[in-house]
Symmetry: C3
Subunit: 177 residues, 3 copies
């Protein structure tokens, strides 16, 4: 975010599990003064996820519009983004795992998302999990997932105006330097 509080067109917020990345992204959106839209990619499929969604919703408060889209993220962004709205996507890695679980073409979906982000008509903040800094997983699916996530992060960071990495609630700006 620029010093005058203007939110960049496209912002990527990366961080590990429970690093405070969603809270940081919510603050960026709230401080922009735009209409805040929460685009949730998580599906309340189990108890852990249901609890997490409820906790995030309570923290955000009532001003936010919540939209849920677990797979067709490119279409949802085209629909929801507008110059007077700030759309927070939480999060890319959940979306990616939904796309993989649905048996969809992952590379195609990631390319379509990048193209949609390039065309989007209002500010978008994307939250995503860093998953590639641990030991190589035994599990082939997990290895493929972290490869897709790493490539997606590179693609989005490449077109983003601002990229942040959040550690223990503290954000480091990686782009622009």
């Amino acid at each position: 975010m620029a010093a005058d509080g203007t939110l960049g067109a496209l912002t990527l917020v990366l961080g590990g599990a429970r690093s405070g990345k969603s809270g940081f992204a919510e603050d960026l959106v709230a401080q922009s003064g735009l209409v805040p839209v929460y685009l949730a990619t998580g599906q309340a499929g189990d108890e852990e996820m249901t609890a997490r969604i409820a906790r995030h919703r309570a923290r955000r408060g009532d001003e936010w519009t919540t939209v849920e889209e677990s797979i067709e993220l490119a279409a949802a962004l085209a629909r929801e983004a507008a110059p007077d709205r700030a759309v927070l996507v939480d999060c890319l890695t959940l979306w990616l795992s939904n796309v993989i679980a649905a048996g969809a073409d992952v590379d195609g979906a990631c390319a379509a998302l990048a193209a949609a982000l390039d065309r989007v008509e209002g500010p978008v903040v994307l939250v995503s999990n860093e998953v590639g800094q641990g030991i190589v997983p035994d599990n082939e699916l997990a290895r493929a997932f972290r490869d897709h996530a790493g490539l997606l992060h590179q693609a989005v960071a490449g077109i983003a105006d601002e990229v942040y990495f959040v550690t223990a609630g503290l954000a480091t700006r990686l782009k622009p330097r």
Copy 2:
């Protein structure tokens, strides 16, 4: 640490496995000129841990007082901290796993620790492992552990005067910027 070698009241040193975080934290304490106190949270329960404890002890040398406390960390800090002493806690993630293994109330223990850190009467340096930047663990206990660790790091970083992240022996200061 300030340019004059003064150690802040509360310092958090985060880093991955074998990142050099303990060595960096020991240097902070040694350079403070205060009486160095090593508050070890690890239990010499297996061969790996016994070897690690012996290695850390040999590196520190004889000037250090070593205190062991695997669970009651808040009480130990209240007892050990003093204006002329610098207490190094190594490490928070081991303490957290001890608390979980003991079946204690984890959120309560973390809140009590944060409260103790707020009241402590001398400089404290806390070392902890970043564990949230790999793939989501299959194991539910491991997922819960990294969630607790991430929340604890956010809470401690929030009240710390200084936060460092150590990678390959090189420390980056995250707070203050």
Copy 3:
């Protein structure tokens, strides 16, 4: 790399899986104007690795000389490095896993590598994976691997002129600050 495009004698490029670290390291070498030499430590033992090697080779293009050495890295560096050549080692963590798999003396091999890097007669860029920021692995071999990797990274970073950490294609310089 200095502002005049001079490549330091020894550069370490760390990053997670698919973080863009190899591409960043290739750019450093390409921009140096020296003869680019690719020292591959990976063995095309399975389909994933064969595909990865082919993809990296296609990206680099024809100007590069490719040398393969999976174990005797210290000797290969002594042979390949020269003042008019820039040698890119991709990557240290693959080499480390080859050394471990061969049942060799890991500490001895790491010490020999560090000694070779100290004596090398031309610029070297080393790429390596950060593997220590996830949850502690259940598997004893994986724990030993990440311990060796962390210690190796500390040793190499200690003698390197420049150290970078790459996240989502964006490089942060850790040394010099």
